[in-house]
């Protein structure tokens, strides 16, 4: 994964070096306002509240949907923090590739390990 990430990279790396530097300079303008960050935080808070509600089964019985919905909400939160607060939306793709390389590798390798341990059955 990591390696493919870098190997896709050659053209933008050198060809567009100048443009990248320019983008770096107006970082301040490209980034969202404080209010946008606050809105993301509100969304995160709402999702967290939803997650915690699943714990109180009396409020709503989630049944078999429980684990998938929890995972889904987790992924959304993860994604929002990574893309907005960590600026992956606005920054060079290379950063995201380095990170997702590690992330996918970790998820893949450890899922296989748990599978070999017959964790899911």
């Amino acid at each position: 994964m990591s390696d493919t990430a870098t190997s896709e990279h050659p053209e933008p790396a050198t060809g567009a070096a100048g443009e990248h530097s320019d983008a770096d300079h107006d970082e301040g303008h490209a980034h969202p306002s404080d209010w946008a960050y606050a809105k993301i935080a509100i969304v995160l808070a709402v999702i967290t509240a939803l997650e915690v509600f699943t714990y109180f089964e009396t409020v709503l019985d989630w049944g078999v949907a429980l684990v998938p919905s929890l995972i889904f909400m987790m992924v959304v939160k993860f994604y929002l923090v990574a893309t907005w607060f960590m600026h992956l939306r606005f920054d060079s793709k290379l950063f995201g590739r380095m990170f997702t390389a590690g992330l996918t590798l970790a998820v893949g390798v450890y899922l296989v390990t748990l599978t070999v341990f017959e964790f899911w059955v």
């Binding site: 290379l94 990170f99 590690g102 450890y110 390990t113």
Partner: protein, 210 residues
């Protein structure tokens, strides 16, 4: 820990290309790229610890499991606190990069404070667990639980140390708009620690262990 790019200095070839003194091949900052590479590596570290816990979470050796003593409402509050510290962190960066040092300091301090509350909550949680019969050496499940959350706690604590260092640097006037990137780098680390907790909170605490 910022490093000076050395590639293009005084090289006339670089100048022909219109690079300035600090240009890098990709135009990206060394330090920021290094931090992202490091975070990619951290994924495998936390992944290993999380998998260890998942594998062991029901192996109690006939004694109390961590899942038996989880206090979900309490952990929810401390998780929420850590989540909100990501907002204050990003606001700190935003303020520093606009040159508002005063506001930057406030948000840095707020972030460190929220992190501190989280750590305080974790210390409380750990002592309660031990009182209720789940200590580090009780069973494989408890060893894995304390190692994972403790490891995360150490990461948060290191983050707090870095935030306070930034705060002190700012008070001394050494942290200005020009080196806002330092705040961004520390911020990346802080947000990463936060997203690891997002993962832990769901997978370890919320998903019921049958």
């Amino acid at each position: 820990m910022s490093a000076e790019p050395l590639v293009a200095d005084h090289g006339h070839a670089a100048d022909e290309d219109g690079h300035d003194e600090h240009a890098t091949t990709t135009g990206l900052s060394h330090t920021k790229l290094a931090m992202w590479v490091f975070l990619g590596s951290e994924c495998l570290l936390f992944g290993g610890l999380i998998s260890t816990y998942l594998l062991y979470k029901t192996r109690g050796n006939g004694r109390t499991l961590p899942t038996d003593v989880f206090d979900i409402p309490f952990t929810s509050v401390s998780s929420f606190v850590l989540l909100m510290s990501s907002l204050t962190m990003v606001l700190a960066l935003s303020a520093v990069s606009r040159g508002e040092d005063e506001a930057g300091r406030t948000w840095l301090l707020a972030t460190a404070l929220l992190g501190g509350i989280f750590i305080g909550g974790q210390v409380y949680e750990f002592t309660t667990f031990v009182r209720e019969g789940v200590a580090f050496t009780t069973n494989p499940a408890s060893s894995a639980f304390f190692t994972l959350t403790g490891f995360h706690g150490v990461h948060v604590s290191l983050g707090i140390v870095m935030l306070m260092s930034l705060f002190v640097a700012s008070v001394k006037g050494k942290l200005t708009q020009r080196n806002a990137e330092t705040v961004e780098i520390v911020g990346l680390y802080w947000h990463f620690v936060d997203i690891v907790w997002i993962f832990i909170f769901t997978v370890i605490y919320l998903i019921p262990a049958d």
